[in-house]
Homo-oligomer: 208 residues x 2
DNA sequence: GTCTATATACAGATAGAC
DNA sequence: GTCTATCTGTATATAGAC
C-alpha cells in the first residue's frame, strides 16, 4: 500500500526529471520555464516543487542524471589486440558520432554556459565526459607502449593530443551552428589524424 | 551645430555598446538586462531603445563589435624564416593566452549558448575566430612545405590538427570552470605538441 | 533626443482545498 | 501528495513630458 503510493510519487518524479532533461538541454537553463516542465511532465507546477526545492536544484539533478549518456556505448572499442591504426580509427569515429549528436552538442552548450552559476554540473560533465574518455585512451596507449607497439614519452599527453585533434573543427562547427563537413571530408580528416599520430608515435618497424 | 548633436548621440550609442558588450559577455544574453545596460552606460533605458530596436538587435551589434578582439595581436608571429619549431611554439603560446583569457572564455560560452537563437553572431565568431586562425596557419604551413621545411599532404588538415591539439584540454577546462593546469604543465604539453607535430610532418633531415 | 513613469507579460515560488 | 489559483518580483518595451 505504502509502496504503491511511493512508487506513484516516484513515477511522477521521474516524469519531471525526464521533462526537465529535455527542456534544459534543448532550451538552456533560463529559457526553459518551470511551467513548461510541469506541462510536459503532465503534472502541476506544485508537484515539481514538492520534489525539487528550486529550479537550480532541478537543473542539477536533471543534468547529472544524463551522465550515462556521455559514455561511449562500448568501452571495449579500444581493442588491445587489433593494430593501433584500426583501434584508434574506430574509437575516433565513435567519439565523433557521440559528440556531434544533437543531444551531445546541446549538453555541451548548456554545461559551458552555466559553468559559473552551476559549477557542480560542469564538473560532472567534465569528469564523466572528456576526462573519462581521456583516461580510457591514456590507459590504452600505456598498454600499447608496454607491449612495444607504440613509443610515447607521456601517454596522457598523447591521449589528449589525439582526442582534441579528432574533435577539432567538426565539434566547433556544430557548437557554433555552422555548416558541417560532409562525411567524406570527416572521414579523410580522421584518417589523416590517425596516420599523423602513428607517424609521430608508432614504432619504426610499423610506420616507416 | 548639427554635428555636435549627432556626435553627442553617437557618443551615447558607443557607451551603450560598450556596456552591452561587457554585460552580455560576462552574464550571457538572458541574465544581462536592459536596465543594467542602461545603468552602466549612464543613459536611460529609452535611449538604449532609440538606438537599438530590441535586445536581440543590441546583442548582435555588441558581440559583432567585439570581433577585433578575437584576433591574435600580431599576425607576424608566424615567422617564415625562423625554424618551424620556434614559430609554432610561439604561436601556440599566443593562441592559448588569447583563448584562456576571461573575455575569450566568456565570449566563447555566450556565442555557443546563443548559436541557435542568434546564428549571425555565432557565424561572425566562427569566421573571425577559429576559421581566421586556421587560415593563417594553413598558409604558413603551405609556405613551409613549398620551401621544403615541412612535408604535409594536406596543410589545412595539418593546421586544424595543430590548433585543436593546442587548445585541447586547457580550453575545455576553462570553459567548464575546472581547475586549470599549472603553467609548467601547460608549457610541457605545448612543447610535446610541437615535437609531435614535427615528428609527423618535419622533413627527415630535421627531425631524425 | 532624452528623461521619468508606466503598461504588459511572464518568470519563480507559494497558499489552501481536496 | 497533488491540484488550482495566486502572490511577488522583474523583464522587455512603450507613452508622454521636457
Amino acid at each position: 500500500m505504502i509502496k504503491t503510493i511511493r512508487s506513484k510519487s516516484e513515477q511522477k518524479r521521474q516524469k519531471v526529471l525526464e521533462a526537465a532533461i529535455e527542456l534544459f538541454v534543448v532550451q538552456g537553463f533560463h529559457n526553459a520555464s518551470m511551467d513548461q516542465i510541469a506541462l510536459r511532465a503532465g503534472v502541476s507546477k506544485q508537484t515539481v516543487y514538492s520534489h525539487f526545492s528550486s529550479k537550480q536544484e532541478l537543473f542539477k539533478n536533471a543534468i547529472q542524471t544524463r551522465r550515462s549518456d556521455y559514455e561511449l556505448s562500448d568501452a571495449s572499442r579500444l581493442d588491445d589486440s587489433a593494430p593501433p591504426r584500426e583501434s584508434l580509427l574506430i574509437m575516433a569515429q565513435a567519439l565523433l558520432g557521440l559528440l556531434l549528436s544533437d543531444d551531445g552538442i546541446r549538453a555541451n552548450r548548456v554545461c559551458c554556459a552555466e559553468a559559473e552559476s552551476h559549477p557542480e554540473v560542469a564538473e560532472v560533465f567534465f569528469k564523466e565526459g572528456p576526462e573519462h574518455i581521456t583516461n580510457l585512451l591514456t590507459h590504452y596507449l600505456q598498454r600499447q607502449v608496454d607491449s612495444g607497439r607504440l613509443s610515447i614519452a607521456n601517454p596522457r599527453h598523447g591521449a589528449i593530443q589525439f582526442l582534441y585533434m579528432v574533435k577539432g573543427e567538426a565539434q566547433m562547427r556544430a557548437l557554433l551552428n555552422q555548416k558541417p563537413w560532409d562525411s567524406s571530408e570527416v572521414s579523410a580528416y580522421l584518417n589523416s589524424c590517425v596516420e599523423m599520430f602513428l607517424k609521430a608515435y608508432g614504432v619504426v618497424a610499423e610506420t616507416c
